[in-house]
Amino acid sequence: MINEIRDAIIQYLKSVMKENDVVLALRSSSTPGILTPCILRNKADLDQIEAGFFHLNNLAVYLSEFFQKENRLSTLQGYLYVLCKPCDTKAVTQMISDQQINPNKLKLVVYACEGMADMKKVKNEIGLDKDIKAIDLHLTELSLTLLDGSPLSIPVSKVISSKCLECNKEYHLTMSHVFVGDEKKWKSHPYSIATAENKVLLQDQKKGKDLFDQLKAELSACIRCNACRNVCHACFCSDRCIFDKPKMTVGFLDKEISPIDNILFHMIRFYHVAPNCTACGECERICPQGIPLSHLYEYFHRLMQESLDFSAGSSDSMRQAMLSYRLGEDLV
């Protein structure tokens, strides 16, 4: 299937990759519709790279592996090329300002992204009793073959993820990067159907007790598998988290899985993440229990922008909101 963005990326990487450079990109996994992040070290593997409509993952979370964490490759001599959607660049900028990555060994490959798939919507289209055997994108049609071999085609507009509908098609990067694809054409028609400002959130419709009851019902489905914590670029202390405190130092947070503890877990996680959350939506996408976490991170993202006028990932030198103050703002 022709995917000219992917070929342009591969062609660019082939031209610029030197001897011990490393590429962090995505390749197809044997589950249809989902790509697996991969680290490619030599030119021959570059052809496995996939990009475009199924690029759901935000690869920024792997970058801290390269520079700070235990099993890292920080003995990296060459450069690290990272395949990024424009909305992932905010995550990379925020991690640089949190000193989790040093940018001078990093080169971002940003490409003209026309939106990404939302696999939940695809599943709803197919119905709960059938499943996908193979899935492919033909210009504006998703062509699927189901398990019993019957073909099905769904228009892209039906399954594009809601985050992309608000994309204003711009990104700002100060570190070294390259844009693959025609930037002017890409910027010419932004989606931005529902602009972020007038979005009505759950916290606007409900207040107090019934908001608490609804969130409690949703969060009681949580099985505390830590997937939302480990996939989040803003939750960068993933294997040194306060919830993983070793038993010898009496951690004051129990590992009990009960509605109250789940709320406490998410409350503490969003308290930590609120200043540097770039609302990339990864935590909601991958939650095995389907918990609508957008009810929470949308609220905190908007809160940071409105009351502290701080948008995460906007500049890699400005530290996050909790590390600065303005005289006389008397917030509390």
Binding site: I34, R224, C225, A227, I257
Partner: protein
Amino acid sequence: MKTYQISKSQLKQLLEPYLTAETQLIAPSLNPLGLISFNKIQNINEIALNTSIPLKPSKSYLFPESSSLVQFDEKNPHLLESDISQKKQMLFGLRPCDLAAIAYMDSFFSSNISDHDYVQRRNNTLILGVACEYPSNACFCTSMGIQPGTSIHADIFLVPSGEDFLVEELSEKGQEYLASISKGWKEASNETLATQKNEITEKTSSKLIEKIDLSKIRGRLSETYNKDFWNKYSEACIVCGACTFDCPTCSCFDMNDSMISSSKGCRYRSWDSCSFADFTLHASSHNPRSSKLHRLRQRILHKFQYTVEKMDQWSCTGCGRCIRVCPVGINTRSILKDAKEALGE
């Protein structure tokens, strides 16, 4: 063991006794978050049988996420045995892969050291299996030697044939339960049952994406310990633990005390996962499985190697949940294929 043929309306009769106050009926249904999962059923037509298996197994009804085992109070030091809910429950709508998983969990929890908490819940539970007609693209039960159409691990096994169900008794508990409610049910011959089962097995296994022949590498997986195909997967893994919590045969748990006051509290047990950072963290803060590679490899080798050595059975039933739930698309089937290739099969 008799088999009956019942219509859809008579199915209500089969499940009715478990809809009373002191009992609970657990079956797959659409939960408020829009996913199919095992929930407590209020009335029969909520049950959704014609879907692929729920993402979260019924494990949490036998081995709950966290249950308080013992309550203690230093001031008057006696151990209050925590009262496990005596509710009789029926697990309905389990497919052969889930039934095989429950059989493994039974043998795990009540082998030489029997786990009081699990055994008590298990004795209160009546298990009704259903033949599987709607596999997902991640299923590989046939590669693990399980036929989607039949199973021997349930108390009662239903085989859908057109509009009706063939009900097969498999255990004394099932026979005794059926004896009490099967008034006026039409008996069915074993042949029709067997042919219906084979037909379903053929139809479903033809739908599966692939079947891997693991017989040659059974018990030889530890030779792939230092092979480098593991890096391909561990570099992508984010060690989150979703695969282990959604796996019907993962039985690791962690014990902790939750103190209400400095003298009163309860010791509870909650699920733990080998992917978590502090699973094998020693008091000296040395961690033998510190890197992601160690943890991913441990999960696969435990399922396909160590249980074969110890209990001479796979502890994976091919339900495919770990593949469907993985945020980064790590596919257990492709790991097994790479292992086969690395062993030169």
